[in-house]
Symmetry: D2
Subunit: 384 residues, 4 copies
């Protein structure tokens, strides 16, 4: 039932935010981190704008100003708030935003339980809205971690999650894949984003993928070997980034009395050696691979091998820029802006992470970020 | 009694902040506006650092991290938070800061009511701390106004104040002051800041000061006459500022259906014609005077004439840069940083404003801001 | 004979620079344009550093400071001049740099005519040096055009070149290519850059490529249709670029009395309608294609179809980010930095332009620039 | 005779520039340094614009584009070149600019020798133009020094000047001046700038001025005592400047094998101990005085004492911001922009330097620069 899925997804967002103080909802420490309250409002705005206003007879808009405040990149719909300004808006209050959510949820419940049912188009838009909210759920995790993890008090964010336990296995080796033609892209009738469509053949040379992700212990070897101070491992722009930003370890790592610590959801703790490294940029992932005399997988290699890989703890950087598949076309209207407009200057990540919403992952999923960003739950898999 | 004054000043800060939402305490929309919660913490930190820790036996520091978080410019005391980072700190929470205030206030009450009394030095430091907090009370008003007045919802800040009513009087003319020697600077035993000390003689030529401040109606004439588009009235740096920042009216003014409105403490309201103009920069004050073929007063002209002026609604820009008086010396220790280190690139303002704390004003008071800033309650008086 | 090719390439660089005033050699109007004198010195430094100093017995270095001044990105060899500082260096003089060229050319002539001959490695490095200089020859053209074309006097740069005449042909249609496996990458024993190596199979879906490049007349239709003011055709970052930089036409275009003019090597002249459009960024190329409901070719589509295309007037933007081929490996030592370190955030261009040095072009050639740059001789081919 | 003075001043400019390479005329290493060729053109443009075009019958403008290129701050006259763009203009060529000078000089000679003579107004404008050119002569020295002194080759600028020799005298002490009324400002019929006019009385407290300027040896003591690393001596903005720009010595000083060297007009040479320190900012001058527990003079103290001071080797920073004298009025028309528009955010310097043009100095002269600038020939005198 769509309505029960709707309720579950919407509740999960609020469950994620529950441990926050009101103050935590408001701040925007850097341009690419959004205030948590914005995520709560923006995901709600999606349903109000694309579903309720055009489709629910007699729907009363909660507040016309919210369109301006919670619009993201949908240029078709109206002027959007300049991104860097989000952290300046103390109003609407967190309480108002929860009232907004309630208002929209009740109207959605009415619509979704209407006896006449929904058109298939409308159903698809609701499902897109839920997937959109699930994307923001993971962003909510990473943004909260940034906000609390860059506070000098290192306050823990206490949330009980069932953690997927994936053990690094020293005996595991590299998986070898044969040269040949593989099919890439989404198949079947389930939901996917527009950027996964256009299933098509690619030709791959023989290749090998590590079954394990790179661990913290392995990454420390790179640090100890001077990886951050030897330009030979880095892209020219990566090297400038390392020097300009004074990068010498993954994000959240602090050397305390000679021991690497990291900010985790429980506060500042020693780095666990056997855990996959997380919060590295594409530049760092690439430099690590260069130092090992290996390389990162392409997204096609990854997808073709994925049934035989163990993954799901970290988003994995690939050696691919984010580009359209052959035959990529944008949806008509405002939703057509969903993915295509970001297909420049970003790198593809595959897999999913501990913080990806349940049911939101697919082995054809194409995540993407700029190569210098590392506040997402990003890790490294090697290829040969 | 010092203790009752202490309690009154500390309470007034909290009374000013009372109408705020928790969210409003946190944001920092521009570098020169501090989050309200920072003002509440920083003024408290002053008493803890300069009075309680060195003087109250057995005083327990509330939280050692707070020294780092709430330090302002006192380089002697320790590393300070980079100013632009203040708006990123969601913790300590507002509740924690009020607990911090309570903790310090109780310890201060104990100290101030100690039967042995205070040394004169200590007494002076307490009084300096109270004057320091009163300065931050006015900053609290102007920062809150900035935060709420730059929110697209224009939320009112509801606080009942007894407003000083000063009427513009068309019949009033210019006051003429004789050429001669005048004495400038603080006299007597009451409190003053270090920058007012060193009473000394200055020689003034004959001059005239307007008894009235420039009103909104008069300032609109400047706008209508193209004042913002004619470089001849502006300093070169002021002209660059006008063009770079696209300035065409005082801060908070918005043209709504052809009528000038302004954000006030009650929300967006039409501009009152007979009220003194407020929220103009030194550049604008100077350009207005040029356009009128007059000039701004010097701070010495202002002080010499002040007994015959009606003032107290607006801080008044003068034609003086903020420089030391002859014989200016800095206090020893950390408090010596109080004023001297800002004596470059800023302009002096005289008088006081509607939002200046009661009892905090003196006709020898030297306020100072950079010439492009206008979020303070700044107005214009003309001289010839 | 290598020596005669050496002499010819070196002379051609000086022939290109011959029409310049001494003043023109010195300026650097933007960070990505190098002063012409730097190109003359840097290409010479390559031969001195990688060939003469390690291989010519008794070679006397011209000036040890030049290593610092004319180094480019070769981090292995030594500290390099910060790029944006190049335009500040009035010394060494242009005359000194020509003396430097002469000094190195004489030593190279001695080496190249040595009776014992060259090792194959050394020979390869000389050939790489010549290809390196040919790359800078085209940069010299585009940098000179930028310098003179952004001068308010629009001085012509008079050089007689035999212009390749390629006629736009209205009857030409789209070339259709079959789905299937194609081989990509350099084949054979001739010179190529490291980024072309690793010939490999790719699988392409059926596709069509326009035989003609987009003309100025066609591009004007895009302008007239409001292409620069409709965000729907643009990448999000392209749209920010258009707005931030106030872009409304190709670089060098000026609307004079309602007629589009362009700065050409002969000064400011009316835009020729039937000529392929030039000096567009990837963002513009992509937006044009979106507006036509078509797309840009991939670099593999381009290479596979190239024997049947007419090209060679413009570098053609492709829909590919610049990434390593399977099996890409860097050369050992300083020359290993040649290409790999730039494989992020840049887009591939294929073909060549009117200003590419003779003999320097290959249909496997991979040129690359950032998507916002357009001072190169870049044009548009459409695909379906 | 005005004509012979005209010829002498114009020739002196070219004599100063004579040792330059053509390349040296073109570069602009930082925004506040102008390319030498711009000085040559701009001073000529002054005579063409304000004298020849309105007054010489039949005068033929050399090139209408030059008004745009060589305009400085005279907003009344037309659009001016954005300052930071000056270093991008390779044309007009240096040769063209010398032809421009010749063209204007011949026309000026015709005008100045006209039998009917000049009106007094016109005569005054010519004299202003000559003083304007003399100001640019000193800027030409300081800009050339910056250009050559920031080149890694440290090329000497060889010009034979008769150097004024002023000896530091250890026995000299402080001059004491009585409290009382002094007259300040220009007196008499000779030329002065508008900012010196309005002779008026000031009241000064008793004060003492050092007869000697601070020497390099004395300044080294400040460095050795950690003056650049102790915030207590610095303005808050000065301290930010020191840290942001990594300042640890006067401009042009380099520690070579443990010995302070400085770039001089003869290249890199050891710092002379007994010479007055030069190329310090106001921030440094102020910090030095703080460290000595003294202060800088005010401009009024300086002017009142000047007949008893030995000066003329360095421009001397005062403790005064650059503000208008009582009764300051701007001239009508474009020339009215000469000084008034800069009267904000700058500090006054008094005296003159070794490189000030002969006859250009007055003890009422008010020079001014921003407090962080130090490429002028600026030094330190102490006051008490």
């Amino acid at each position: 039932m769509l309505i029960s899925r709707f309720i579950a997804v919407r509740k999960r967002t609020e469950w994620i935010a529950a441990p926050l103080n009101i103050e935590d909802y408001v701040v925007q420490p850097v341009e690419y981190v959004s205030p948590p309250k914005w995520h709560l409002g923006h995901t709600t705005w999606f349903f109000e704008t694309f579903i309720l206003k055009p489709n629910l007879n007699g729907y009363r808009e909660f507040d016309p100003n919210y369109n301006y405040i919670f619009n993201s990149y949908y240029e078709t719909v109206g002027a959007r708030v300049i991104r860097t300004d989000r952290g300046n808006l103390s109003r609407p209050s967190v309480e108002d935003i929860y009232r907004y959510r309630k208002h929209v949820d009740e109207a959605m419940a009415a619509l979704l339980s209407s006896p006449s049912g929904l058109t298939e188009d409308l159903r698809d838009t609701v499902i897109l809205g839920l997937n959109h909210e699930e994307q923001h759920q993971e962003l909510l995790f990473s943004d909260m971690k940034y906000i609390l993890g860059h506070n000098p008090l290192f306050p823990p964010y206490r949330l009980q999650m069932n953690k997927v336990k994936i053990i690094y296995n020293e005996k595991w080796d590299y998986l070898t894949m044969d040269e040949g033609i593989y099919e890439i892209g989404h198949k079947g009738k389930g939901f996917c984003f527009d950027n996964e469509l256009g299933r098509h053949k690619v030709y791959l040379q023989e290749y090998q993928l590590s079954r394990n992700l790179v661990t913290n212990a392995e990454y420390m070897e790179f640090i100890d070997a001077g990886g951050y101070t030897d330009f030979r491992y880095w892209h020219a722009e990566g090297w400038e980034w390392v020097n300009r930003e004074k990068i010498n370890a993954p994000m959240y790592w602090h050397l305390v009395d000679g021991v690497w610590h990291t900010y985790s959801m429980d506060g500042l703790v020693p780095v666990e050696l056997s855990t996959p490294v997380v919060h590295v940029s594409y530049y760092e992932a690439h430099a690590y691979a260069e130092w090992k005399n290996e390389r990162l997988p392409t997204e096609f290699e990854w997808e073709a091998a994925s049934p035989q890989l163990l993954y799901g703890k970290r988003w994995e950087w690939t050696e691919n820029a984010y580009l359209p598949y052959p035959g990529f076309t944008r949806a008509a209207g405002a939703l057509g802006e969903y993915n295509g407009k970001f297909m420049v200057n970003q790198m593809v990540l595959r897999g999913w992470s501990t913080f990806t919403s349940p049911g939101h992952s697919r082995h054809t999923y194409r995540n993407f970020f700029h190569p210098h960003l590392r506040w997402q739950f990003t890790g490294i898999r090697l290829a040969r």
